[in-house]
């Protein structure tokens, strides 16, 4: 298993490098001049030139890239053009917020998706199957932020069970955290649970037709054991690949759902950064997000190796 981890880490390194190049060069394509952004219309021509020199903007782009990368590796993602805060600090402050939303919605998506998918697969064409398929079709057509609005209208504004806006950190109060995260997580998790349910259903229907399922039943093992042990472990294999993709989708969706519930996470930061053409902030956000996605992929790869012995390096 250690070999698998090392192998995957080595495979991931070039990806991170390419992403950093893309993040740096693309955001350097921004139309605005950072010096103008910082000084505005004030300042003399000399002051502009001095700042440009001090920020190293007169250097060639590859020199600037390696300087930026060198600092980024040490955890220094630069300083916001807009309010002079450290990018790493600002990102790290918001990261737990977006992470808890993503994790909570992933949890919901996985639980609901698996339950619906397995239930549908056990009795193809039954009422349960039709309802699950119908629900999945609808779930994938509903925009997460609109679903969030509806949930907020019913459960926060009308019934007052949950707060309509805001976020309480887990460390402040686990109960209030749960209350503040529930509606956003459900809103965000819906379409992913639909996608997972579809995948689980088709994977399980395929697995349940396999010889080894019938053979296990012929051996007198109970239907429940055969389904939840023998079939599920094999059925999970194709689902794991989807899972990693879905968590990436959830991370992106969190940026939008945050806006519905006025949650101060990476989404709010990203939207402000784009509006303000805050280059270091955008670069830092992209890098951190890719780092998260890569970490998720690593976990799912290891999971994949556990579930599918053939995928293990020997």
């Amino acid at each position: 298993m250690l070999r698998l981890v090392v192998q995957r880490l080595l495979a991931v390194a070039p990806l991170l490098f390419i992403v950093s190049v893309i993040a740096f060069s693309f955001t350097s394509l921004l139309p605005s001049d950072p010096v103008d952004l910082i000084l505005g219309d004030t300042g003399t021509e000399e002051q502009h030139e001095m700042l440009r020199e001090r920020m190293g903007l007169n250097e060639p782009i590859h020199v600037r890239y390696f300087e930026w990368l060198g600092r980024a590796v040490q955890g220094d993602l630069g300083t916001s053009y807009f309010n002079s805060v450290s990018v790493a600090g600002a990102v790290m402050q918001r990261l737990p917020v977006t992470l808890s939303l993503t994790a909570a919605s992933a949890f919901i998506a996985i639980v609901v998706g698996f339950a619906a998918g397995v239930a549908a697969a056990l009795r193809p064409r039954s009422l349960v199957d039709r309802l699950a398929t119908l629900g999945a079709t609808f779930g994938q057509a509903v925009p997460n932020f609109w679903f969030g609005l509806l949930l907020a209208a019913v459960f926060a504004v009308w019934l007052r069970w949950f707060p309509a806006t805001g976020f309480t950190p887990l460390t402040t109060s686990p109960w209030e955290w749960l209350r503040s995260i529930t509606l956003p997580a459900i809103a965000l998790g819906l379409s992913s649970s639909a996608a997972i349910a579809r995948q689980v259903r088709s994977a399980m229907v395929g697995v349940l037709q396999q010889d080894y399922i019938r053979a296990a039943r012929a051996q007198g093992l109970s239907r429940r054991r055969v389904i939840f042990k023998h079939a599920l472990k094999n059925g999970l294999v194709p689902v794991v690949a989807v899972l990693s993709f879905q968590i990436t989708v959830l991370l992106g969706g969190a940026l939008i759902v945050e806006q519905v519930f006025v949650i101060n996470g990476l989404g709010t930061l990203a939207i402000a950064a784009v509006r303000q053409q805050d280059i270091p902030m955008i670069q830092g956000l992209v890098l951190v997000m890719v780092g998260l996605v890569v970490a998720v992929q690593l976990v799912t790869d290891i999971l994949y190796g556990y579930l599918n012995p053939k995928a293990r390096p020997s």
Binding site: P14, N144, A215, L221, G252, L255, A270, V274
Partner: protein, 641 residues
């Protein structure tokens, strides 16, 4: 279900009809809705009752009324008019982003796929990098470069979604360029571009269309999302996303504002996705209309009961006694058709009965019927399966579960698929011991290793930790046999256990069966199509044809003098039974499908000795040898050897 469909009759079965019905039930509303959208979008200026941008602060945030069917927003603008204008925006957005995605992705994908090498490598790494960033973040970064606004945001989404078209086009090229026709086109010197266009493009079209529908749905959602967070369509222009943005701010004052744009988005995306699903299904299957086998079985039942076979003479040492068993199946939802009828045989303690016949004669389903594992498509309707004095057909599912493994076990044809790929082989044996014999984890593992040793696998403790893909076919079959025998069953059903194996290994496995039978004393029902294999291992042979037994005889008697023309035909067609020089004779024709059996003797269509009287049902008759042929006494089918 089946009863209804039988009554309905006609060329379409009930389920096929339901499927076609649901095909139209999906495509018709979805297509009409999308057509309506296009009409509304084109005629927005004429249809909209008000100017979508005209403010009227005196009538702000009103609910639905006769003047404003869907109410007004925070600036007193008519919601219905804005919804109608938003419809046009949504279609423009979808068209723009999808076109950009296709125009960018497909040519680039075709090119790198065909070109290969360094370019392919570099582009694919960039694509992977982009795909590892959440899509909405990619769009946000591109918008940061291009600036916000509908058209720029759609270019951003187009670039984002071009990656999936690129990968699709590249994938098709990579697989097609290895096809013979492309290679031969290259050999005769057709220029590259022509090969690409003439041969590869038609193959891309179907997956492209499916990807297109997926993209349109995703673009609609993404556009709404971007406009919602203020990076897409800019106020005061109306789009469904910006309308929801407004609604979010005034949720407490007028929640209804969120309903019209949200419902519009959901219905549009739903229609596109549903059409995509239908397209994908029909492209995947090549639009098939299910025509079921014409097989009303009512006539059959009447005749089956008109000519009952003589009851099997009782024997003292029977383990299994199957009598008058009938099994029906309804493949893919068609009407039920019998696959086994009047099946009667018995097996004595320690005896091996061979069940021999061509594919489709019902051998395998016999084994599964004994275990009650035919599956949802079939069921047994008549007869008894008595195992050691208990009729298995009368048992409940939990009781049956106790019988499986403990009293009856089964070895399947292909060990590489009948063992679970995700668990070690030792685990799979130990699991049975734990579940059935209530052994402890440790004891079960120790016993599993013993069993693996017993079936002749060297270094059993090590092999127990192997996965099935790490074992050879012969070794895997030994494991499957060890698992089947783990609870010392009275009856072992072996379904073509040597067919999937190398010829050299077959012999070893057959010897193993004989050895183990000596030690464990179980009776074996040995299903095979290979008479040579049957001759090697069986004591008696039952020959099956079209769902019934046509002859039962001790193995030597059968080989010396078959009584049924089909048994004689099988023997003659077997390489061991015929002289080497003349080519092997074959039996003309094939086994008729269930439901298409001749009314009388089911072999009569292929039989050289057919008489007028063979049009009637023929019972299985005889004493120590049983045969289902009217002319058994008069025919001399001779020795096969």
């Amino acid at each position: 279900m089946s009863g209804q469909s039988q009554k309905a009759g006609g060329p379409l079965s009930g389920r096929a009809r339901a499927r076609r019905l649901s095909f139209y039930a999906i495509t018709l509303p979805a297509t009409s809705f999308l057509a309506l959208l296009v009409v509304v979008a084109l005629g927005a200026d004429w249809i909209a009752p008000y100017d979508a941008l005209k403010q009227n602060l005196l009538h702000a945030l009103q609910g639905p009324s006769a003047a404003h069917w869907l109410g007004t927003d925070d600036l007193g603008r008519d919601v219905l008019s804005r919804l109608i204008v938003g419809c046009r925006i949504a279609l423009i957005a979808a068209a723009e982003a999808t076109s950009v995605a296709i125009l960018l992705g497909v040519p680039l994908g075709l090119w790198i796929g065909y070109r290969g090498g360094w370019w392919d490598w570099a582009v694919m790494r960039v694509v992977e990098a982009i795909m590892s960033i959440p899509g909405i973040m990619v769009a946000i970064v591109i918008i940061a470069i291009l600036g916000p606004g509908l058209h720029r945001a759609m270019i951003a989404l187009g670039i984002l979604f071009s990656t999936s078209f690129l990968r699709l086009a590249r994938g098709v090229v990579l697989s097609e360029r290895e096809e013979t026709y492309v290679k031969s086109a290259r050999v005769i010197g057709a220029p590259d571009r022509r090969i690409l266009l003439r041969h590869i493009f038609p193959n891309i079209a179907p997956p492209l269309i499916v990807q297109l529908t997926l993209t349109v749905g995703a673009v609609l959602l993404a556009e709404a999302g971007l406009s919602f967070i203020g990076l897409g369509v800019q106020p005061p222009n109306a789009s469904w996303g910006t309308m929801l943005n407004t609604a979010a701010s005034f949720m407490e004052l007028n929640w209804f504002l969120a309903i019209p744009p949200g419902v519009a988005i959901v219905l549009t995306v739903l229609s596109v996705n549903l059409l995509g699903d239908v397209l994908r299904d029909s492209i995947g299957r090549g639009i098939a209309v299910g025509v079921s086998p014409a097989a009303p079985s009512a006539r059959f039942d009447a005749e089956a009961s008109s000519a009952p076979s003589a009851p099997l003479p009782a024997r003292g040492d029977e383990v299994l006694r199957v009598e008058g068993l009938q099994v029906v199946v309804s493949p893919s939802g068609g009407p039920e058709a019998p696959v086994l009828t009047e099946l009667t045989f018995s097996i004595a303690r320690g005896e091996t009965l061979g069940l021999v016949g061509e594919s489709g004669s019902g051998k395998t389903i016999t084994g599964l019927a004994i275990l009650d594992l035919i599956g949802a498509a079939g069921r047994s309707t008549h007869g008894s399966i008595v195992l050691d004095g208990t009729d298995l057909r009368s048992l409940s599912e939990p009781q049956m579960q106790a019988v499986r493994g403990n009293n009856v076990a089964m070895v399947f044809q292909d060990p590489t698929t009948s063992l679970n790929p995700a668990f070690t082989v030792g685990d799979q044996i130990a699991e049975v011991l734990q579940a059935k014999l209530r052994l402890s984890r440790k004891a079960a593992w120790a016993r599993a290793v013993e069993l693996i040793d017993r079936v002749g696998i060297p270094r059993p403790a090590e092999r127990a930790k192997a996965y099935v893909h790490e074992l050879s076919g012969g070794m895997a079959q030994r494991i499957a046999i060890a698992r089947a025998l783990s609870c010392n069953p009275k009856l072992l059903i072996a379904d073509e256990p040597t067919t999937a194996l190398d010829v050299t290994v077959q012999q070893e496995i057959l010897d193993l069966f004989r050895d183990l039978q000596g030690e464990f004393g179980m009776a074996i029902l040995f299903v095979t199509h290979d008479l040579a294999v049957a001759a090697h291992i069986c004591d008696r042979i039952a020959v099956m044809y079209a769902g019934e037994i046509v002859e039962v005889a001790p193995v030597d008697d059968l080989f010396a003098k078959p009584l049924h023309p089909y048994a004689a035909g099988l023997l003659a067609a077997s390489p061991h039974g015929a002289s080497r020089n003349p080519p092997l004779p074959t039996i003309a024709g094939t086994v008729p499908r269930p439901g298409a059996w001749p009314a009388g003797c089911r072999f009569s269509d292929r039989c050289a000795y057919r008489r007028e009287s063979c049009g009637r049902r023929v019972p299985l008759t005889g004493g120590s040898r049983l045969v289902r042929c009217l002319r058994a006494d008069e025919l001399d089918l001779g020795s096969a050897s």
